[in-house]
């Protein structure tokens, strides 16, 4: 079993549209949506939820007003400015428990925090593991790790060949969590200065964790000078360009129809994504 995670650094470069198309093209796979803050893959795959689980993670401090003597020690030790007027702001609280440990009146308790849900669903393309982190919650990295672990279990149980993960934007906690131990990172970029800058940073993360990477330039014809710049940068880094996908309105049209673009159109975008998937499977050594 091999796992490819689709990342980009910059948001909105086309990760989910590409993963949705891979879902339609790949045989024998499980899909994992690792963007647990703003999960969109379900809009293309239209899953039927089979299992829904709670994600309990971390704790939040709670001050019992009756016991509190207003000595102020909790406010003094809290480094997250989460306590004001002897009340805890649950959004700022990082659940470290420092206040709970030091409170001389034993007025503080730590309460378990329901920070989201995760799901195993059926789609017409195969199983999908996805999640929904609660609004303004922490621990997205742990939820991503859980999604990947469940995707792996599904793939093992059903003897599937691939895990295809739709990753989050950025380079921090949830990205590192979706990347570590994967067989390949497919980095989707666009020919804009922001796209190039963000690609360099996410590629740095792949190097840092020793994950092989391939690059796909989406909407490459929007600025061909920048596309050439990305190509020469990747050449210098020894990173292959797996595909150059042209800009085409059919991608948005397909999205509005709730369909992977490869099922919606026979334009060149579709052929490019088909070739891209073949390149990815080759790189995965299948």
């Amino acid at each position: 079993m091999k796992e490819v995670v689709v990342l980009s650094g910059k948001g909105g470069t086309g990760k989910t549209s590409i993963v949705g198309s891979f879902a339609a093209l790949a045989k024998s796979k499980v899909l994992a949506d690792c963007d647990v803050d703003a999960a969109d893959l379900y809009l293309l795959l239209r899953p039927l939820t089979q299992q829904k689980h709670e994600f309990w993670s971390g704790q939040v401090a709670f001050i019992d007003e009756e016991k509190c003597t207003q000595c102020g020690l909790c406010q003094e030790v809290c480094r997250f400015q989460a306590i004001e007027d002897f009340r805890v702001d649950p959004v700022s609280c990082e659940g470290c428990g420092f206040c709970y440990q030091v409170c001389p009146a034993e007025a503080i308790t730590m309460r378990e925090n329901l920070s989201g849900h995760w799901f195993i669903s059926d789609t017409r393309y195969g199983p999908l593991v996805h999640a929904r982190l609660g609004i303004a919650q922490e621990n997205s990295g742990r939820l991503v790790a859980l999604v990947r672990q469940q995707a792996k279990l599904s793939a093992e149980k059903q003897g599937l060949d691939y895990i295809i993960s739709d990753g989050p934007p950025g380079i921090g906690c949830p990205v590192i969590s979706s990347l570590s131990g994967a067989n390949l990172a497919l980095l989707v970029t666009e020919p804009t200065l922001s796209g190039i800058h963000d690609l360099e940073r996410v590629l740095g993360v792949c190097h840092h964790f020793g994950i092989p990477a391939l690059v796909c330039i989406n909407k490459y014809d929007l600025n061909e000078d920048n596309t050439r710049q990305i190509e020469s940068y990747c050449l210098g880094q020894g990173i292959g360009i797996a595909s150059k996908i042209p800009f085409d309105d059919v991608v948005t049209e397909a999205l509005v129809q709730g369909l992977p673009v490869v099922e919606y159109s026979q334009h060149s975008v579709t052929h490019e994504i088909e070739t891209l998937w073949q390149t990815v499977t080759k790189a995965l050594g299948a």
Partner: protein, 286 residues
């Protein structure tokens, strides 16, 4: 709006909808209106500097305090490991192991060590740089490659918020802790989206977030003309004002791809961004 200061954050839920385009064009349009500041709080992938090309005058490293154990004083009692909820410390028979990448820097271990054997040392996780560009004061943060925790850097960027004037904050995509840290304390939040099912899905999440934080919001609809009417219908139903509409336009995309702010590429847009700011002012003064 307190004491002649207004803080407007620009967020989105979905990545790549045009947050940076809006934030940079807005500050440039307002730069002759007194003190104007742009804080780029997308510290995983900061891109605003590519458009504003600031001259940096100050650079500070951002560290989080991680524990350091003086083994001459340590009795291996295990208190530190017991109080650390992040599992960043493990105490063996005659050895203390510290995992700095798991540490949140809460300080509980050093405070609670009965032997006074734990001190804290800074571990660098990124930088904050500040300077100016075209009459705009500019600050951004950059998370180091391979580091997990963006929030401490975001909080440091926000310590630079000016005491007066107009402050625009460019936020990362998503709805979890980095977004909360960036948006918190704003007087108003602009939510930039696009007229697609992905844009709508993530806008709904972003609205939920700003409502949880009790911050008034309005929408900028970017790339209008493609997709569907879902976002407009949602805003209409929910009484969320659409304050600015930017069409899908190859010329706008071309300037963006070259790192040229929209109001410099097409100066007529300046008026639209001034209007946008005035509309926000009207909402806040109601």
């Amino acid at each position: 709006m307190a004491g002649g200061r207004v803080i407007i954050s620009v967020a989105s839920g979905k990545g790549g909808t045009g947050k940076t385009l809006v934030a940079t064009s807005m500050v440039l349009s307002l730069s002759d209106k007194g003190r104007v500041q742009l804080l780029d709080c997308d510290v995983e992938e900061p891109d605003a500097h590519l458009f504003l090309k600031p001259t940096f005058t100050h650079r500070e490293a951002v560290s989080i305090p991680v524990p350091r154990v003086d083994e001459r004083k340590c009795t291996y009692c295990g208190k530190c490991a017991e109080v650390c909820v992040y599992n960043a410390i493990a105490v063996m028979k005659e050895k203390v192991l510290i995992f700095p990448e798991l540490c949140h820097g809460c300080g509980a271990c050093s405070y609670l060590c009965p032997e006074g054997a734990i001190s804290e040392e800074g571990k660098e996780i990124g930088v904050v740089e500040s300077g100016y560009s075209n009459g705009v004061r500019f600050v951004h943060g950059k998370l180091s490659i391979g580091e997990l925790m963006a929030p401490p850097i975001i909080r440091r960027v926000k310590q630079h918020v000016a005491s007066e004037g107009i402050i625009i904050i460019d936020v990362s995509p998503g709805t979890s802790c980095p977004v909360v840290d960036a948006v918190k304390g704003s007087d108003f939040c602009l939510l930039v989206t696009e007229p697609t099912p992905f844009g709508l899905n993530d806008l709904v999440l972003a609205v939920e977030l700003v409502r949880k934080l009790n911050i008034p919001c309005g929408v900028v609809l970017n790339r209008s003309g493609v997709g569907d009417r879902g976002v407009e219908e949602y805003c209409h139903r929910g009484n969320i004002p659409i304050l600015l509409t930017i069409p899908l336009d190859i010329e706008i995309a071309a300037f963006y791809s070259r790192g040229i702010p929209l109001v410099e590429g097409i100066p007529q847009w300046r008026e639209s961004f001034l209007n946008l700011f005035n509309k926000i002012g009207e909402i806040l003064n109601k």
